[in-house]
């Protein structure tokens, strides 16, 4: 199923790319149009490379190269996530031939809308990682002593856990979520790095954690060692901005490129938090 099979027989000589640019954090955004010579089997990253190389808009003006992020080029790192023709996805696996079949007019690129823009298509996804910290999305095994081999995990449990472990923190699930709204802070004049960071962490903590973090909490709660800290993760999920913010729109599961069963995780976390809360009430 290579894309070249789908490339239009009468492939265009050039195609246009509309990019929503922004020169820096908090700045105004503006559209810019680029014309790129068509080649077979391009993806959006190779398109962005051409755009950077020519650094010239359709009008012929010399412009600064459009900034973007990428790393693995095989949809496992998530860094190249952006809105391609209005849909959130990885630029590296967005194939031009297929995009042009759906939208012969050209390609539209926008940065993700739920995260602060650093520049052009580069966004700051710290909030995602803060959420992973909040729900303790790890297993506490560090120590000075050899604790021996950990408990075994049954193959059945592994099969449930593996898909969840594929999350690459790309943020697609959050971009598509109607309950995940953008939080962007600007540094006050005279505010120190540490103060700003603290204020930002606090703000992030009170906003929705998001589907990815809920799913990671479920993953680590299901782990035979991770389960020792299940209570702490569930506490985090019932704090402000926790699972209760989810409105069950189920967009997250529909857009996740790794096809992680996010809504199953959300329902599981719903059940776990229900029992956790009841236990807390009646055990105290």
């Amino acid at each position: 199923m290579t894309a070249s099979h789908q490339s239009p027989a009468d492939a265009p000589r050039t195609f246009d790319v509309r990019v929503l640019r922004q020169d820096g954090p908090g700045g105004a955004s503006y559209w810019e149009r680029h014309r790129v010579p068509y080649e077979h089997d391009m993806n959006v990253i190779s398109v962005l490379q051409r755009i950077a190389a020519q650094s010239r808009s359709v009008e012929g003006d010399e412009v600064a190269p459009v900034a973007w992020e990428c790393c693995c080029l095989e949809e496992v790192c998530g860094s190249c996530t952006m809105l391609v023709n209005g849909k959130v996805r990885q630029a590296c696996t967005a194939l031009v031939d297929r995009l042009l079949v759906d939208e012969p007019e050209g390609i539209e690129l926008r940065p993700m809308g739920k995260f602060p823009v650093v520049r052009d298509l580069v966004v700051e996804r710290q909030r995602m990682f803060r959420a992973l910290e909040k729900v303790r999305a790890w297993i506490d095994v560090d120590g000075y002593y050899d604790a021996g081999p950990g408990p075994r995990q049954s193959p059945e449990d592994q099969e449930v856990a593996y898909p969840l472990s594929q999350c690459m923190s790309c943020g697609c699930c959050l971009e598509a979520c109607p309950q995940y709204t953008k939080v962007e802070l600007t540094r006050d004049p005279g505010e120190s790095d540490a103060d700003f960071q603290a204020r930002q962490d606090q703000t992030y903590d009170s906003a929705f954690v998001g589907a990815h973090a809920i799913s990671q909490a479920v993953l680590f709660n299901s782990h035979p060692t991770g389960t020792y800290n299940a209570g702490k993760r569930l506490d985090a999920l019932t704090q402000e901005g926790g699972i209760q913010i989810c409105g069950n729109a189920q967009n997250c599961v529909a857009v996740c490129p790794k096809e992680i069963p996010l809504t199953t995780s959300i329902a599981k976390a719903g059940r776990q938090t229900t029992w956790h809360q009841l236990k807390k009430w009646f055990d105290q």
């Binding site: 109607p178 309950q179 729109a249 967009n251 529909a254 059940r271």
Partner: protein, 282 residues
């Protein structure tokens, strides 16, 4: 508020089912009993009103306050989200938006409906001088079907009621489905799908009940129903104290509608009831 966000949201979720949703289900089923006969409906209403003076406590505690809580918090929740159906036209997302839209419609409908039929408050002076002149408090519990039928006579009112009832039913049926996910009752995609079918069946059934009730109510023969209702009331009169009889007056349709085709109390065949002097004659 923010510290107890989890509990508050869960209470919001719960209050939608019990008591609000449960009440609505009973309410629509009771109303649909008019399809059997106005007399059946009247007997059902009488049963509810046999609670007498504690009725308003029950109404406020188990219906109005939970409903207001659900509605007010619902508005807070709506304001916290950012619907994006145009970018992601997925069925779950459409339902997410519809849940919010139907909630708003349901809220305005219910506020109007409660005023239209019930008047919001029971104080006599208020009912006579504010609610009734504004077209409210039209439902008379001891003339249940006939007064409801009169209140629903206009086509426009019927259309608004149909929209309102369908919004309420959608909101409840879809809400039951999302509630099951929220509380972790249906977890796997297969279970969520089965629950979805069940909620659709419930929604369709309740739509039929609700629209059936509306239709049945609006087709009631007002004259005939009134005679039957008055007979039923007369049969109850014996067991009532004079104070109760007096209190009952605002719960009765004393047949003094401006509508010329309807006989006034004096001409009506059942007009032989004695009106206490305290009842203002209009």
């Amino acid at each position: 508020m923010t510290r107890n966000e989890f509990i508050i949201r869960r209470l919001h979720s719960l209050s939608g089912l019990v008591p609000v949703g449960a009440y609505m289900t009973v309410h629509l089923l009771t109303n649909a009993s008019v399809l059997d006969s106005p007399a059946t409906f009247q007997r059902n209403v009488n049963q509810i009103h046999s609670l007498g003076s504690v009725l308003w406590v029950v109404e406020w505690l188990f219906i109005f306050l939970p409903l207001l809580f659900h509605a007010v918090l619902g508005v807070v929740i709506i304001r916290g989200g950012l619907p994006n159906v145009s970018s992601y036209p997925l069925s779950g997302n459409v339902r997410y938006s519809l849940q919010r839209a139907s909630g708003m419609v349901a809220f305005f409908f219910i506020m109007w409906h409660v005023f239209h039929m019930h008047g919001w408050f029971h104080f006599d002076g208020y009912l006579k001088s504010v609610a009734e002149p504004l077209g409210g408090a039209q439902f008379k519990p001891y003339n249940a079907a006939s007064s409801a039928a009169q209140a629903l006579r206009s086509g426009a009112v019927q259309v608004l009621y149909a929209i309102g009832v369908l919004s309420c039913v959608f909101h409840l049926a879809n809400g039951i489905w999302t509630m099951g996910i929220t509380w972790g009752v249906w977890v796997s995609p297969a279970a969520q799908r089965r629950a979805n079918y069940a909620s659709i069946v419930f929604g369709v059934a309740m739509s039929i009940v609700g629209l059936g009730a509306l239709n049945g109510m609006s087709r009631v023969d007002v004259e005939k129903a009134r005679q039957i209702e008055d007979q039923i009331y007369d049969s109850l009169k014996g067991s009532k104290t004079p104070e109760e009889l007096e209190r009952d007056q605002h719960k009765r349709d004393l047949h003094r509608t401006a509508d010329a085709e309807h006989p006034t109390a004096e001409e009506s065949p059942t007009a032989d009831l004695v009106l206490p002097d305290t009842v203002p004659r209009r």
